[in-house]
């Protein structure tokens, strides 16, 4: 699901570091705020705001990191509130709930591994476009030149 595509200009050390950090940001926030699915999105969003005037490469990867976090926010929030309603209301643990949580955990693991892999590759200066988020980022993030 990961597709790489070389950028058409020479990347500086600073650029690859900043772009790679945008993915690391979400990984650190996942570890720090696992029960609250909003934290990793917030961390990535703050990083995105800080780098929106940066070079095209950095902006592009900050946007891709943000979009991938946004999709996980929907999946995790739904799971989070479902769990809360089971604990505090009359809702019971059902096959549907367990199936949802397993699916959500699997998608989170895939996303976690992909994010980790992409952060390493970007640091090496290899541009990587994620499945679905890559083409979407291409639509949103345009080169200023």
């Amino acid at each position: 699901m990961i597709h790489s595509n070389p950028f058409n200009y020479q990347l500086s050390e600073e650029e690859t570091e900043s772009a790679s950090n945008s993915y690391l940001m979400s990984l650190i926030a996942i570890i720090a705020g696992l029960p609250l699915p909003i934290l990793n999105l917030l961390a990535t969003f703050i990083f995105y705001l800080g780098n929106r005037n940066s070079t095209y490469f950095v902006r592009w990867h900050c946007t891709q990191a943000l979009l991938s976090q946004l999709s996980m926010l929907f999946i995790n929030s739904f799971g989070f509130w479902w769990t809360i309603s089971i604990i505090f209301t009359e809702e019971n643990i059902t096959n549907s709930y367990i199936a949802y949580m397993l699916t959500a955990i699997l998608f989170n693991i895939v996303e976690f591994i992909a994010t980790m892999y992409i952060a390493i590759q970007i640091r090496k200066g290899i541009h990587i476009e994620l499945w679905f988020f890559g083409p979407l980022t291409n639509l949103i993030c345009k080169s200023k030149s």
């Binding site: 999709s71 505090f88 009359e90 096959n95 367990i98 199936a99 949802y100 397993l102 679905f132 083409p135």
Partner: protein
């Protein structure tokens, strides 16, 4: 644009496809979710009842138990409730109180029976407590206020007597959530109507108790912990409107009077 839409649809499809496929597996059975909660409830019920038995005196006089069992049996039979699930106990105590424990234990204080003007008032309170049991409110309340992990630790013997004591206090002297209380009240009205018992008497009991002298309020645990008695009486009347058919008493007057006499004459043992 087209590429991202196709990939997006595939991703969403993959997510839901996986979720719906996994849903077909009986995870609840695999993880033994129900067995765990059933066993926990059974052990908790027995532990709490043992705790009460140690400190309070149970009335096992056949006149008393037969009379109470007749009321409970009649309610259960009229409402298709499994009577085997219920364990009814009469405790000799002046407080006007009745409460449900896990695993179908229903505890009624003698103070409540003696302060009921007629058997329908008592039947109303019994129906309310049976509704809590049938709607699984007891375990819901415990899980919410104490947490499932603590409950399981109590059943495995790691809870300590103080935790059991505190938990028992929560169950016997504090009300459920307002919404759960209302649900139990409305269910109780249905039970009463199905059992041909006039629900108005249950509402009257709430009115009567809410207007009792404040000096003895501390004895009226059942009502002082159940908020807004008047409001409850109102919606009970409202719920029973149109359902009023012909009503008949479960116990004969003689049996009812004998029950009260037995409770009044009870010989307390030190």
């Amino acid at each position: 644009m087209k590429k991202s839409i196709i990939q997006g649809v595939i991703s969403i499809g993959l997510f839901f496809g996986m979720w719906f496929s996994l849903k077909e597996i009986d995870w609840v059975g695999i993880f033994k979710v129900e067995q765990l909660t059933d066993k926990t409830e059974q052990k908790l019920g027995d532990l709490f009842w043992e705790g009460i038995k140690k400190t309070e005196q149970e009335n096992k006089n056949t006149d008393v138990t037969h009379a109470i069992d007749s009321i409970v049996n009649h309610i259960c039979l009229s409402n298709n409730i499994d009577i085997e699930k219920l364990n009814v106990h009469v405790i000799m105590k002046d407080e006007i109180n009745a409460f449900a424990l896990p695993n179908g234990h229903l505890v009624i204080y003698s103070g409540l029976i003696l302060n009921a003007d007629n058997q329908d008032e008592l039947a109303g309170v019994i129906c309310h407590e049976i509704a809590h049991i049938e709607l699984n409110h007891v375990m819901k309340k415990l899980t919410k206020e104490i947490g499932l992990s603590v409950l399981i630790s109590i059943t495995t013997g790691n809870g300590g007597t103080e935790v059991i004591k505190q938990t028992l206090k929560t169950l016997s002297s504090s009300a459920f959530d307002r919404s759960l209380e209302k649900e139990a009240d409305l269910k109780a009205v249905d039970y009463l109507v199905n059992a041909n018992i006039n629900p108005t008497n249950f509402a009257n009991f709430l009115y009567k108790i809410s207007e009792t002298d404040s000096n003895i309020e501390s004895y009226i645990t059942w009502v002082s912990t159940h908020p807004e008695s008047k409001e409850r009486a109102k919606y009970i009347i409202e719920q029973s409107k149109g359902k009023l058919t012909h009503f008949k008493s479960i116990l004969s007057n003689d049996t009812w009077n004998k029950l009260k006499e037995e409770l009044n004459d009870f010989d307390y043992q030190e």
